[in-house]
């Protein structure tokens, strides 16, 4: 199991436990808020860990922290809408548990941002920009070239049943060229 998969599995368990505890209490005042806060906090902490794991560096730079913040804020927005939906429902809906656990895969984006050393790439696997959303199994393959800021970046599919977005990217970004630190 890769380091990223290990983190995702742990986070999924935390979210699953919090969501199961919420199931019978959605009408209680403050219960959904507490759940939202718990899940957001867990996503934040694991996003930081994912950035550290991906970059291989436990000391994060301000830019890396900013990237984590942006990623977590994006998830917080989606989670906020989800919480509103739960609060407005009369009863617990089947599928909400699985939907909540999907948030665990959101840490892929900060992981890959760290992995690619903060290169200005247009998307990260699992950042929600593909049809497969956080189920994306693709990866960046970064090849550094001579000279500073020169890279060839390949979008590699990791699954046989990739979504159309990922299929298109693997063809289009083969490679995505970065010269002098900018995409050309």
């Amino acid at each position: 199991m890769s380091d990223l998969d290990w983190l995702i599995q742990r986070l999924r368990r935390i979210i699953a436990a919090a969501t199961t505890a919420l199931e019978g209490r959605i009408s209680e005042s403050g219960a959904v808020d507490a759940w939202q806060s718990t899940v957001t906090d867990a996503i934040g902490r694991y996003s930081l860990a994912a950035m550290m794991t991906g970059s291989g560096d436990d000391q994060l730079s301000p830019e890396q922290l900013k990237a984590v913040k942006k990623a977590v804020q994006t998830q917080a927005t989606f989670l906020d809408a989800f919480a509103l939906e739960i609060q407005g429902a009369a009863a617990w809906q089947a599928g909400w548990n699985a939907r909540a656990e999907m948030y665990a895969s959101s840490i892929k984006a900060p992981y890959w941002t760290g992995k690619v050393k903060m290169l200005p790439l247009p998307a990260m696997p699992g950042d929600g920009s593909t049809q497969c959303l956080t189920n994306c199994g693709c990866a960046w393959d970064i090849q550094q070239l001579d000279g500073e800021g020169n890279y060839d970046c390949y979008w590699r599919r990791g699954k046989n049943d990739s979504c159309q977005t990922c299929v298109g990217r693997s063809a289009r970004w083969a490679p995505l060229r970065i010269r002098d630190g900018e995409i050309v």
Binding site: D3, S29, T40, D41, R45, Y46, L60, P62, V72
Partner: protein, 476 residues
């Protein structure tokens, strides 16, 4: 710890770094190193409707002129500086850091010295008192490094929104950004041109201060004979005879080791051959029916009212009839809603809003035994009510606990199902994001939203993330 305290003192990002650091221990009162300005019956610029620096120089010197006023200022300042405070919040390290920030205020001089200076400026200048918020970087989100008192006589209100004040350092004037300054003035003027300056206690009590200073000065000069207080015009005495008499009187007094009674100036006429006669011209005297104690009582009451003190702090009730004990309590209770309590509120709100992290707040606490007894009595009353509700009304134990939580008898953790009636937030609580709104920043205890990497709260989160990352690598 010593490194941390040193960083709170170095003033590297403070406007005070532009002041000259004297190495030989000498100092000057920059901006005003002139003589003590005599108090006139009317303060200079009193006819002007707007506060001015010239007026503030006079007002700031009033404690030098009148001892009772100086004592009243001292009592108000020390009472406030001695008040206990608490830092509240959910993050222990952040609370500790905030406590250190306040305890090392004013370049390490400490909270007590810091507040003593603030109160003096607040009570004795219309410009008010100023706190510089030194930060590690630029911008309102930059982490707070230290708090400093700024000399009010060196601070000029600019009227500019982004740089509301300027500080006259030793090397010139420096504008200060809005997020680096707190300014508090007493009775801030409603006039736009005043730019937030107000009417301090010294301004409001000026006439009483000047009057009492004049009375005490007159009595002092009368007793010591240090200046003529009346003229006696005498005929039949030549000037030479007069000078000889005065001189021998002086020498005689000096020989005996005490000052002569020189309170009378004697003028002789040219009619040296006339009979000795004369009349008296008073230069300064008290009016008929003058009662020193009564005048003192009036002035002390004016001082207490204008500062916002309990009059008993300046003059205990003595020789009063039965019922004075209750009167004392009433006076003490009334003082709670006045003067210095307003300053405490302003300072609390300003620090909580501008100077402290989002998830902590400061509040002043009462420590007197009578207040603790009152709190205990109130709590007992609520407990009795809750017991009655359960026994006689059939309210459940959880609902009774909710009642006790609402009245702060029990903490919220006593409720197994959480607070069912969150209620209002007080003026010292920090507000949270409203339901249904996308938060502008992440929850405070996540720590990544607006903090620098070195923030203690973020450090906690980073440490936890580092442990997770290590475990993840080990598992891979």
């Amino acid at each position: 710890m010593s490194d941390k305290i040193d960083s709170l003192r170095d003033q590297k990002n403070s406007v005070l770094r532009y002041d000259i650091q004297y190495e030989n221990g000498t100092y000057t009162l920059y901006g005003w190193n002139g003589p003590l300005i005599p108090l006139g019956l009317r303060a200079p610029s009193e006819l002007h409707l707007l506060p001015s620096r010239a007026l503030d120089i006079v007002l700031s010197q009033t404690p030098h002129h009148e001892a009772m006023w100086a004592g009243a200022i001292g009592i108000a300042a020390t009472q406030f500086a001695a008040r206990a405070w608490e830092v509240e919040g959910d993050a222990p390290r952040l609370k500790e850091r905030t406590q250190q920030l306040l305890l090392n205020a004013d370049g390490g001089a400490g909270w007590t010295t810091f507040t003593l200076k603030l109160v003096q400026d607040y009570l004795c200048t219309n410009n008010g008192c100023f706190i510089e918020i030194e930060r590690y970087g630029r911008g309102p989100g930059a982490r707070i490094k230290a708090l400093h008192h700024l000399d009010s006589l060196r601070v000029r209100r600019t009227g500019l929104r982004d740089t509301p004040v300027a500080y006259e350092a030793d090397d010139g004037e420096h504008l200060i950004n809005w997020y680096n300054i707190i300014g508090l003035s007493d009775m801030p003027s409603a006039r736009k041109q005043a730019l937030g300056a107000g009417q301090c206690a010294a301004f409001r009590a000026y006439r009483d201060i000047a009057k009492l200073a004049a009375i005490e000065s007159f009595l002092y000069e009368k007793v010591t004979g240090s200046r003529p207080l009346e003229i006696h015009v005498v005929s039949g005495l030549s000037n030479q005879q007069l000078q000889d008499a005065v001189q021998s009187g002086k020498e005689d007094a000096q020989r005996r080791g005490h000052a002569a009674y020189m309170g009378v100036l004697i003028m002789s006429t040219l009619a040296a051959d006339a009979e000795v006669s004369g009349y008296r011209i008073p230069l300064a005297e008290v009016p008929n029916g003058f009662d020193r104690k009564q005048e003192l009582d009036i002035s002390l009451l004016a001082y207490a009212n204008n500062i916002g003190l309990d009059p008993q702090d300046l003059q205990p009730l003595t020789g009063q009839q039965l019922g004075a004990g209750a009167q004392s309590q009433v006076l003490q209770d009334k003082a709670r809603g006045r003067g210095m309590r307003a300053f405490e509120q302003m300072l609390t709100h300003a620090l909580n809003t501008l100077a402290l992290p989002a998830s902590v707040s400061i509040g002043f606490v009462e420590r007197s035994l009578s207040d603790q007894k009152t709190e205990a009595d109130t709590a007992k009353t609520h407990v009795d009510i809750a017991a009655t509700l359960v026994d006689k009304v059939g309210v459940s134990a959880d609902e009774a606990k909710q009642y006790l939580v609402d009245y702060d008898v029990l903490p919220k953790s006593a409720l197994p199902n959480g607070d069912q009636t969150p209620g209002a937030i007080s003026d010292t609580d920090k507000p949270t994001a409203e339901d249904g709104q996308m938060p502008d920043e992440l929850p405070a205890d996540l720590g990544v939203a607006t903090k620098d990497a070195t923030d203690d709260l973020l450090a906690d989160e980073l440490a936890a993330a580092q442990r997770l990352a290590k475990l993840a690598r080990r598992q891979a």
